[in-house]
């Protein structure tokens, strides 16, 4: 009989353990050691410590990767290049979001320790999404992440917008989880197992157009596409993004999306890989619809958070294209895209975080007007992030698009390639509405930006990475290379 929890299991699980333990520790310490709200920012050190331990565990896993992938818990979890790559992204995103949050939450008057715990719990869920190879593990990971996010989106208890966003996100999210669970139950019904490998074998035996396979495919896809905010399941995203605290929006748009993409890849390249003939046309259509909805709706937005929400919908469309191409370039492209998207999108939201000041919501096109006169550094960074989001070289965003386009050409999806490239021009139009506001208009108010040490560090990091990955991408491309699912 196999032992229940071996050292090998622990080795694979250790980042999640650290995240969960330190998440709980923060709650306890808040209660016992820091009764004064003003001291709560010191809890950040616990978070950083926890992330440090998680990162150390991940580092050891990374070093061990040369020996091949490892299974744990009887095949429920796996430690492979893919999981490690995505977990690096989660750690980076969580740390960046955490260190910019304290000032923002103080301004909002909602600086609570639970926030940091929830960040870590959500990240713990993401760990399972990237590493899970079992339907139940994956589902629990998804719910752990989603539940944490439901709370975080509604974290501004006194704000109607925040409450509305949370309610909307919760209802639609629960609904889509229901679909997903139903899809998983059909998969279990087909294969009699919850292991992805068993499910893959069972679906492969039945062929792509078997009615049960199609049912599993349809229901699972609805759940997954909701999570990455693909059209027509994107409706929650603009409202949730707009209403949530900006730091949470940043986290939601980046880490949650990265985790959901990892989840999507695990399912579509795992159990559903053999049903490619059935899903490729549908996903192609959905990808185009997603890019269309995201890009066209973004054009008319005057709220920058909402604009970035729609733009992040269109980015989900680009990421899906890599999956549709499906060759090594495409999958690597998704990995690179997620990596660069993390930094550039976080960066853009960080500038919005700085725009939130006492008494100024700072989300409107008018609020960012003339930013270059007041804070040229922030304006230039925002320009950099927006250029990168649009995919203009030599910024990091270009590399993500580069791989996606290349994979589409390699697999002869020429029409998709042309549509995807032309939407770059559309994207420039709305991103440059922000640029235009920052650089050609006059200031609307003189209040200085609310900056903090953490925010400056985070902005410097995202800025350097966004430009640095664009100018010298080699190490990052190597890293993405290790993430390929075999």
């Amino acid at each position: 009989m196999n032992p229940f929890y071996t050292a090998a299991d622990h080795f694979v699980l250790v980042p999640a353990v650290m995240l969960a333990l330190f998440g709980c520790a923060i709650l306890l310490f808040d209660f016992l050691v820091f009764p004064d709200p003003r001291q709560r920012k010191y809890l950040l050190f616990f978070l950083l410590l926890g992330e440090g331990f998680a990162g150390y565990g991940l580092w050891q896993q990374h070093a061990d990767l040369a020996n091949g992938a490892r299974d744990a818990f009887h095949g429920s979890l796996v430690m492979d290049g893919f999981s490690i790559f995505f977990n690096w992204i989660f750690i980076a995103a969580t740390v960046i979001v955490a260190i910019v949050s304290y000032k923002y939450l103080e301004i909002e008057g909602e600086h609570h320790a639970e926030y940091y715990s929830l960040l870590m719990f959500a990240q713990c869920g993401m760990f399972f999404l990237a590493s899970g190879t079992d339907l139940v593990t994956l589902f629990i990971g998804l719910e752990l992440m989603a539940l944490s996010f439901y709370v975080m989106v509604g974290f501004l208890r006194t704000s109607k917008r925040s409450n509305e966003a949370a309610m909307k996100y919760l209802l639609l999210g629960a609904f889509s989880s229901g679909f997903l669970a139903y899809g998983f139950s059909v998969m279990y019904g087909i294969s009699g197992s919850t292991k992805l490998t068993d499910v893959a074998a069972a679906i492969g035996a039945r062929g792509p157009f078997d009615p049960l396979v199609l049912l599993a495919l349809a229901t699972t896809s609805v759940g997954l596409l909701f999570k990455i905010s693909a059209a027509p399941f994107h409706m929650w995203a603009p409202d949730a993004y707009e209403g949530a605290p900006t730091t949470v929006t940043a986290y939601l748009s980046v880490a949650s999306k990265a985790a959901s993409i990892a989840f999507l890849l695990r399912i579509f390249l795992g159990p559903l890989a053999s049903a490619r003939d059935a899903w490729e046309p549908i996903l192609s259509f959905i990808a185009v619809a997603t890019m269309t909805v995201g890009n066209l709706a973004a054009i008319t937005q005057s709220n920058i958070k909402r604009l970035l929400a729609y733009s992040s919908i269109s980015h989900a469309g680009y990421m899906m294209l890599g999956l549709i191409a499906g060759n090594a370039t495409g999958i690597k492209g998704v990995a690179v895209y997620v990596l660069v998207y993390t930094f550039m999108n976080l960066g853009a939201f960080l500038v919005l975080v700085a725009l939130r000041r006492k008494g100024i919501i700072g989300e409107d096109m008018d609020d960012i007007a003339g930013l270059v006169h007041k804070s040229p550094g922030y304006a230039l960074l925002m320009l950099l992030f927006l250029l990168s989001l649009a995919g203009i070289p030599p910024t990091a965003g270009f590399l993500g698009k580069y791989y996606i386009f290349l994979s589409l050409i390699e697999t002869h999806h020429y029409t998709l390639a042309v549509i995807a490239t032309l939407y770059v021009a559309v994207a420039i139009y709305y991103y440059f509405r922000i640029v235009r506001s920052m650089f050609t208009r006059d200031l609307t108010e003189q209040a200085p930006l609310s900056t903090s040490f953490g925010l400056r560090v985070a902005l410097a990091a995202t800025g350097v990475l966004t430009l640095g990955i664009g100018l010298y991408p080699e190490p990052f491309l190597r890293l993405a290379e290790t993430s390929l699912l075999h």
Binding site: I392, I409, T421, L422, A425, F432, T440, P473
Partner: protein
């Protein structure tokens, strides 16, 4: 060895100037101006050794520098020049310096950002003309868009925002489609040779079927034709020119548009020889060029706005450049490159001339002027030279280019030459008429009575361009010598056996000009 890194030095001098400029406080306006001008001048000076050390007898690329950049992609930092790029690089460094110098009084606010944008633009343009790696080329190609957007959008005229975003979107839409073409070649190379590379000379080894070449050709075409701009993609140009500040127009017309024609010569022709020789494609492009020549000229005749007139004349002149390229013979190609340089010089001068009068009167309505020669004699002389050089008067530069192109066009298809010649006539018509309406006759508008003539700085701006125009017009031989080898290589690549045929009398380009 300085030779080893001379090109990088030329490429990054403006960037070094920019980095220093960033640390000069915005209040120090004089210092910013002086430094930016020094950086521009240094960029020109440092490019001079390229001319003296260039070996025009050698074939292939010179001053080549190669370094691994992104091994995973097969992208290299690979730069080098041949005669064609040499001329365009010199045009860039000269026009760049003159554009910066001409901004001394014209730009009064946000100086630091303005000059930073100009220097960045300079890096992008130089990079485009130097890159021998398609990835690197694309990076520089796109890099140009951002500073130009800001130059128009921040320091431009009343409709600047519209013009700036139109410029950006048009050219971006073209260039992302071009990117698909590049990636197709890249992928085809990898599947034929088993390794990924963006190196142009490697990609030239590809043998692709005609059908695929045609697709890639059209993808490239969209990227380059929008930049040139060829008819019917020219509509962004008048807007951008009219709204841009003077120096922006000078660089836009003088150098930026040549990125498109350069792209045709450097990439479309050698990489896709079959498609480039396909009769349907050649016919379409030649006809578009001729439409551009005549349409641009006719629209220029109708303009009431001085700057718009010159902007449309660019459409016409660039039509000559593309016609020369698709004549696909040594005269056409060499004439095209000459005409690109000439257009840079003469249209650059024309825009500067408009800038001079606009600084004094703040209007560009032609009807507002008349008889300026009485109050501004020096100005009238300079304008006359620029106008005649643009109209193609013999002994000035424009003639050399147009004549050679027409020779090439005649050799390819007599009808093309016949139609194109009418563009020369229309060109003389709108330019002379413009001159007559603005400079000659009596002063009818009282506001023009007390305009002061060119200042010393303004004369210094014009002098090198006039000298260059006369030099090319009187003694173009060195230019054609420089162009002979690269043009020969391209023609041999596109039309193997052309030089052995012996049927063509004029194989040395430019031999018809000035009786040489």
């Amino acid at each position: 060895m300085m030779n080893d890194h001379l090109l990088s030095l030329v490429l990054f001098t403006p960037l070094a100037g920019l980095l220093v400029l960033l640390f000069i406080p915005s209040r120090q306006k004089e210092l910013i101006k002086v430094w930016a001008n020094l950086a521009g001048f240094a960029g020109f000076l440092i490019s001079l050794p390229l001319v003296s050390r260039f070996d025009k007898g050698a074939s292939g690329f010179q001053f080549v520098e190669r370094a691994n950049w992104i091994p995973s992609l097969g992208a290299q930092y690979l730069i080098g020049i041949d005669g064609i790029s040499l001329l365009l690089i010199m045009l860039t460094t000269v026009m760049g310096f003159i554009a910066i110098l001409s901004s001394w009084n014209a730009i009064q606010d946000r100086l630091k950002e303005y000059y930073c944008m100009f220097l960045l633009l300079q890096v992008g343009m130089l990079g485009v003309f130097m890159s021998l790696d398609f990835f690197l080329f694309y990076v520089f190609w796109e890099l140009v868009l951002v500073p130009m957007y800001f130059i128009i959008a921040v320091w431009g005229g009343p409709r600047k925002l519209y013009a700036a975003i139109k410029f950006f979107l048009y050219t971006l839409a073209g260039s992302v489609l071009m990117l698909l073409g590049i990636l197709t070649l890249y992928f085809q190379y990898a599947s034929q040779f088993g390794k990924y590379t963006f190196e142009i000379s490697e990609l030239m080894k590809l043998s692709l079927p005609l059908g695929l070449q045609e697709w890639v050709f059209w993808a490239f075409f969209l990227g380059f034709a929008i930049k040139v701009p060829m008819f019917p993609f020219h509509t962004w140009l008048p807007d951008a020119h009219v709204e841009a500040p003077t120096a922006g127009s000078v660089i836009l017309a003088g150098v930026l548009l040549k990125m498109g024609t350069y792209g045709f010569i450097r990439f479309s022709l050698p990489l896709l020889p079959k498609a480039s020789m396909d009769q349907t494609i050649v016919q379409i492009l030649a006809v578009l060029s001729i439409i551009g020549i005549i349409y641009g000229a006719l629209v220029s005749l109708m303009q009431k706005d001085w700057k718009k007139l010159v902007a449309y004349s660019s459409v016409s002149h660039l039509g000559f450049c593309t016609l020369g390229i698709f004549a696909m013979n040594p005269n056409g190609l060499a004439g095209s490159v000459m005409q690109q340089v000439n257009h840079g010089i003469s249209t650059g001068m024309l825009f500067l001339i408009i800038g001079v009068i606009y600084e004094r009167r703040h209007t560009r309505e032609i009807a507002e002027y008349g008889g300026l020669a009485h109050v501004m004699p020096k100005y009238a002389v300079v304008f006359a030279i620029a106008m005649l050089s643009s109209a193609g008067l013999p002994l000035l530069n424009g003639f050399v280019g147009e004549f050679t192109i027409l020779q090439g066009a005649f050799e390819a298809n007599r009808a093309w030459a016949a139609f194109a010649v009418s563009g020369v006539i229309f060109g003389a018509a709108y330019l002379l008429w413009l001159y007559q309406r603005t400079m000659l006759g009596q002063i009818t508008n009282g506001k023009n009575l007390h305009l002061h003539d060119l200042s010393l700085r303004e004369i210094v701006v014009f002098l090198p361009l006039i000298a260059w125009a006369v030099w090319i017009g009187v003694y173009p031989k060195p230019y054609f010598d420089i162009l002979e080898k690269p043009v020969q290589q391209i023609v041999e690549r596109v039309r193997p056996g052309y030089y052995e045929g012996g049927a063509q009398a004029a194989t040395r380009p430019g031999t018809g000009v000035n009786g040489q």
